[in-house]
């Protein structure tokens, strides 16, 4: 049965974000703040970068604030000025991306000011943005979220989170189904999914961890991966991405949300995360790690797969 989700706290969070953004811009703590703002369509939102304290009024937080804004802090987004300290609005899932980037030496903690949002979830999609947040419309990642309160942010709006209704964990369900398949059935499943890919690279462009200045899949001298949107090249592309993200992906699920062809990309990433947890007892969290599991060697690493 569909149940509503209490997001009455978002109004106070909005006020709190505005006040804080105004304060840190006015007193020179930061040179810019990246947050969310309204757009023409009711319920829709878009990222905004403000530098003027008076523009703080443009910021807000709602169930439509889906974007993981952390992507704008990476070196691949050259348009966003990286001079001075930057304030950024993050949900718990987004904050884990900051943590990952700190561990990969892509960010310095002293260069960012984290405005953490206590979060009761966001919508799964903005295709029809004027949608009420309930147990049906909520993003799949929010169903099984354990990070509603951001940990280690510089500022968190003093808002108590409302209790959440019980929801089924959709990713674990789907992964269990995939695991129950035979290898050839699984192959067919992913083959069909990847055949839908049109190589728009929205998944890569919104990913905080796809910060390579030259993606291996864009190389043509020599070509490393077939670039044309055909089944073989599509498969290569998605496998390259899954492997590159293993042990790094924080599950913000932006890739899956933005895919205009509805490819369940986060399902693949969640499965990889489960493997990382099982093999290396490693998972994305709020603690900065110097080295990811696939960048380090430990004598106790499981070697049973080598036969």
């Amino acid at each position: 049965m569909t149940q509503p989700i209490d997001i009455s706290g978002y109004t106070r969070i909005t006020e709190s974000i505005r006040t804080e953004a105004k304060r840190i811009l006015s007193d020179g703590t930061v040179s810019a703040v990246i947050g969310y703002t309204h757009v023409r369509r009711k319920g829709s939102t878009q990222p905004i970068l403000i530098t003027n304290p008076d523009d703080s009024e443009k910021l807000f937080f709602s169930e439509g604030c889906l974007n993981n804004l952390v992507v704008y802090l990476t070196k691949s987004k050259k348009d966003v000025p990286k001079t001075g300290k930057i304030g950024i609005v993050v949900k718990g899932c987004d904050l884990k991306a900051v943590v990952g980037l700190l561990g990969e030496s892509q960010l310095k903690r002293e260069d960012i000011y984290l405005i953490g949002v206590p979060c009761n979830g966001v919508l799964g999609s903005l295709i029809n943005p004027a949608t009420e947040l309930n147990t049906k419309t909520i993003a799949a990642k929010c169903r099984e979220c354990t990070d509603r309160m951001p940990v280690g942010a510089d500022f968190v709006p003093p808002v108590e989170l409302a209790a959440m209704p019980q929801m089924e964990a959709t990713y674990s369900d789907k992964i269990a189904k995939l695991e129950a398949m035979t290898p050839s059935e699984r192959w067919e499943f992913w083959k069909e999914q990847f055949s839908k890919c049109i190589k728009c690279y929205a998944c890569r462009q919104v990913c905080a961890f796809c910060y390579c200045e030259q993606c291996v899949c864009d190389r043509n001298r020599p070509q490393m991966v077939e670039q044309s949107p055909r089944p073989s090249g599509n498969f290569s592309w998605h496998l390259v991405r899954a492997i590159h993200l293993a042990g790094r992906c924080v599950g913000c699920a932006e890739c899956e949300r933005v895919c205009p062809m509805d490819i369940p990309l986060n399902l693949l990433n969640r499965k990889m995360a489960m493997e990382m947890k099982e093999l290396f007892n490693s998972e994305a969290g709020f603690e900065v790690r110097e080295k990811g599991p696939l960048n380090s060697y430990d004598e106790h690493d499981d070697e049973s797969f080598i036969r």
Binding site: N67, A202, Q223, S228, V258
Partner: protein
């Protein structure tokens, strides 16, 4: 010429076409999405949902082979793909915002270079449009000079009748010929009313005024505030009925392979990357500016048309909520 057809007769007609071996493409369920895809039976056709991608791919596919090469010792054998082998196609259930893009694209694909891959498909296809009876808040065809019942680009235009079935209007010789060859399936109009057209909440833009601003504002701070948020994917261009940029690449091995043509997008950072490494559009706002300029200025300068039919797809799929209708509104106010 006006005719009428019941939904049952339309389905029979489609099945007859399919039985004859005719290729029929129309909106159908494809996984969880609706896409324009070849129908395998008349029951596949869905009327009530705008396909996720536009109908341009019937003429300009996502990816197609241009030629094949094989190396034999010192000799290289080339084999062309023969565009005259493309099948005759009935493209049915086409949204007015998709059909309207076809005459616009004809200008560029038959301009200084005649693109036989596009043109041959075009000449072998009849477009049967279907008037829209519902719109969402991303739809804005009425703002760019079109309407949910516009017949631009359609050979035949279908409109839902109040009591089921469709009113059919022929707009080209191709359309009239089709009605003639299947006259048993159609009847004379009995005066039944058509369903009210969709009413997108968009008021017409002053496109001349917008172009006037674009003419003088290649450099303007507005581009930064509009498009610094653009993450540089190709989603908008790929779902767009009018975007038509493509890349050509040779794929294969030293011994054999294919030359392929596939969709490209001006949002990609490598779109204008020179072999030297220099990129004249080095930042995202410059790339997004090109999207707007191409649609509402350059194409107008060259062909007197706009590259936007207000289908709203780019607004729905943009990962960062960039709203082209909102941007045009903003420019119009300047």
């Amino acid at each position: 010429m006006q005719k009428q057809i019941t939904e049952a007769n339309l389905r029979l007609l489609i099945d007859s076409l399919l039985l004859k071996g005719q290729r029929v493409v129309g909106p159908r369920q494809s996984g969880a999405m609706v896409l324009y895809e070849p129908l395998s039976s008349a029951s596949d056709l869905v009327f009530n949902e705008q396909p996720r991608r536009s109908a341009k791919e019937a003429f300009f596919p996502i990816c197609e082979d241009l030629l094949e090469y094989r190396k034999n010792g010192q000799q290289i054998d080339l084999e062309d793909i023969e565009p005259s082998r493309f099948p005759e196609t009935v493209l049915i259930g086409v949204r007015p915002c998709d059909a309207a893009a076809m005459p616009v694209l004809d200008s560029v694909f038959s301009w200084d270079y005649k693109d036989q891959f596009y043109l041959e498909r075009r000449s072998r296809t009849i477009i049967i449009g279907l008037a829209c009876t519902s719109a969402d808040d991303a739809c804005f065809c009425t703002a760019v000079g079109l309407s949910p019942g516009d017949s631009k680009g359609s050979d035949l235009m279908f409109s839902h009748l109040v009591n089921g079935g469709f009113l059919v209007e022929s707009h080209t010789d191709k359309g009239a010929l089709f009605l003639e060859s299947w006259k048993d399936r159609f009847t004379e109009p009995d005066g039944s009313k058509t369903l009210p057209l969709a009413q997108p909440e968009a008021t017409p833009f002053d496109l001349k005024k917008i172009k006037g601003w674009l003419d003088d504002h290649f450099e303007d701070p507005a581009w930064d505030s509009i498009a610094t948020r653009c993450v540089g994917c190709g989603a908008c261009a790929f779902v767009c009925p009018a975007c038509h940029c493509f890349d050509i690449i040779d794929e294969g091995t030293e011994k054999s392979g294919k030359r392929r043509k596939f969709w490209d997008a001006c949002g990609f950072s490598k779109f204008t990357n020179h072999a030297s490494g220099h990129n004249p559009r080095d930042l995202q706002p410059k790339r997004y500016r090109n999207r707007i300029m191409h649609k509402f200025k350059y194409y107008d300068d060259k062909f007197g048309q706009n590259l936007c039919t207000g289908c709203g797809r780019c607004i729905r799929v943009c990962p960062v909520g960039i709203d082209i209708a909102g941007i045009l509104e903003e420019i119009e106010k300047k």
